[in-house]
């Protein structure tokens, strides 16, 4: 005891903090994919000016962008138990929220958050594909659905790739806020380890390095993916 800084402790607890990675990735990946689905719905509601859905989307996007993520997390965290109680009272059911793991709350909160941001990115990516291709698809008798799935979206994904990749990396870092709900992701694990020995600085350095490492890995993966994408569709295939 009494050391100002304890490098040995810092190294010792790394394996424990690494145990948080699966949770971090779980939240980031699930939120990203659910967010993509929500974002697609929102983007189409806006592009095709779907009545009602378009207004709902506008309020949704505006609210999520206009409030801090931590507030959204806390709202979801407290809203769901209340919702369950209301349902129980209303329908005479007896659902017990205590068996829902905290991570599920976080999956919901992060997905809703990601959906709002991705609505705008997906919309922009779709609109970046020139309308001539869509009209050409219609002119040969394709449905809007086929044209989207086969022609527009594959190109939109490529156009938006850098934006989506950056968003994912940002999302991965944001998942650190899930520790507020006692989810044992990287930050949650770091907090537990830190608390055990009252050595916070060491634990948080570990957490920082692990996040940094994850980001570097993903940036590398994205760079490879982009290279692969730009190589295909230039010129010729066999």
């Amino acid at each position: 005891m009494g050391k100002i800084f304890d490098p040995q402790f810092m190294i010792e607890i790394i394996p424990d903090i690494l145990k948080g990675i699966p949770y971090t990735l779980l939240i980031a990946v699930v939120a990203f994919f659910v967010g993509c689905v929500l974002g697609l719905i929102g983007a189409f509601a806006k592009i095709y000016r779907v009545p009602v859905l378009r207004q709902i989307t506008a309020v949704y996007v505006s609210f999520i962008r206009g409030t801090p993520l931590i507030v959204q997390i806390l709202l979801i965290y407290y809203a769901i138990p209340i919702l369950v109680r209301v349902i129980n009272a209303r329908f005479g059911t007896n659902y017990d929220i205590s068996w829902i793991p905290a991570v599920v709350f976080m999956l919901i909160a992060f997905s809703i958050n990601a959906g709002a941001y991705l609505t705008e990115s997906i919309r922009a990516s779709i609109l970046a594909i020139d309308k001539g291709q869509l009209e050409a698809a219609y002119s040969i008798g394709m449905s809007t659905w086929s044209a989207m799935i086969r022609i527009v979206l594959p190109q939109a994904v490529k156009v938006g790739l850098p934006v989506f990749a950056n968003f994912f990396i940002g999302l991965m870092k944001d998942t650190s806020l899930a520790f507020t709900a006692a989810v044992p992701e990287i930050m949650g694990q770091a907090k537990i380890e830190a608390g055990r020995a009252s050595r916070f600085f060491e634990a948080y350095i570990d957490a920082a390095l692990i996040y940094w490492g994850l980001c570097l890995i993903f940036e590398r993966l994205v760079a490879l993916l982009e290279k692969h994408v730009s190589k295909s569709e230039k010129g010729v295939t066999k």
Binding site: E135, A136, S139, I140, M142, Q155, E233, G235, V236, T237
Partner: protein
């Protein structure tokens, strides 16, 4: 053959762009649609394959007839399987090779199997002189080559009519010839075509009929020689004079 009766179209409730179009293109005929910019030529083509929805009028494509008041999802689908379009800006699918651009409609719309679709596509790519570029993506093709793929894509669907909207206007001058040559070849093969064009030589030499459009109406319609040499309407004379003048300057 296709037949239009009293087709009108108004944009934004105020600008009437088509003011009652009657037009017939007989089976196997090539009709050139000429007229000054903004006269409504593109809008007319787009009303035929329902990329725009006409307000009133009746359209018959082969033995399929519909009127503007009763256009729904299934009418659109029917019409689009019976027509094809060649666009000024090609409209090629950037994520598909030349071959895949042609097979797309055969696979997705006509539900042919891949072998059959590939075989048909290769036949038509060959027809437009693009067989050796079958595996090229549009980014690797010149404008003229892209447009020839666009023509192959339209032909492969075996439609009742092919609508061309200024197929050479976006091309560099030296590439116009190769595309016009392909269109000429196609027109000799009993394919029914309606071609919006500013190429007066092409209209005169290749078309079976010429329609002159002015301010949302077909002002003059007839044999190309007749229309070019003895235009009846004052507006047609003025229009042709402008082009003839340009022509003499070039010489």
């Amino acid at each position: 053959m296709i037949e239009l009766h009293g087709v009108t179209k108004t944009f934004n409730k105020k600008t009437q762009v088509l003011k009652g179009i009657d037009l017939t293109v007989e089976e196997g005929q090539t009709v050139a649609l000429i007229g000054s910019s903004g006269s409504g030529k593109s809008t007319l083509l787009r009303c035929i394959n329902l990329l725009e929805t006409p307000d009133t009028g009746t359209i018959r494509i082969g033995d399929y007839q519909f009127d503007a008041e009763h256009i729904n999802h299934s009418v659109r689908k029917q019409v689009r399987t019976k027509t094809a379009m060649v666009f000024q800006n090609f409209g090629l699918f950037a994520n598909k090779t030349a071959l895949e651009n042609v097979t797309e409609g055969l696979l997705v719309v006509q539900k042919k199997n891949r072998e059959e679709a590939n075989e048909i596509a290769r036949r038509y790519l060959d027809k437009v002189g693009m067989a050796d570029r079958a595996n090229y993506y549009p980014t690797a093709l010149s404008g003229g080559q892209k447009q020839r793929v666009g023509i192959a894509r339209a032909l492969a669907l075996n439609p009742k009519i092919i609508l061309f909207d200024e197929p050479t206007s976006a091309l560099d001058p030296e590439l116009v010839g190769e595309v016009l040559q392909v269109i000429r070849k196609v027109s000799e093969e009993n394919v029914t075509m309606l071609v919006v064009t500013h190429e007066m030589d092409f209209a005169r030499d290749v078309a079976d009929r010429v329609a002159f459009m002015d301010d949302g109406q077909i002002l003059e319609y007839g044999d190309p020689k007749e229309v070019f040499q003895n235009p009846k309407e004052e507006r047609t004379k003025q229009f042709l004079q402008r082009y003839l003048q340009r022509f003499t300057y070039v010489i």
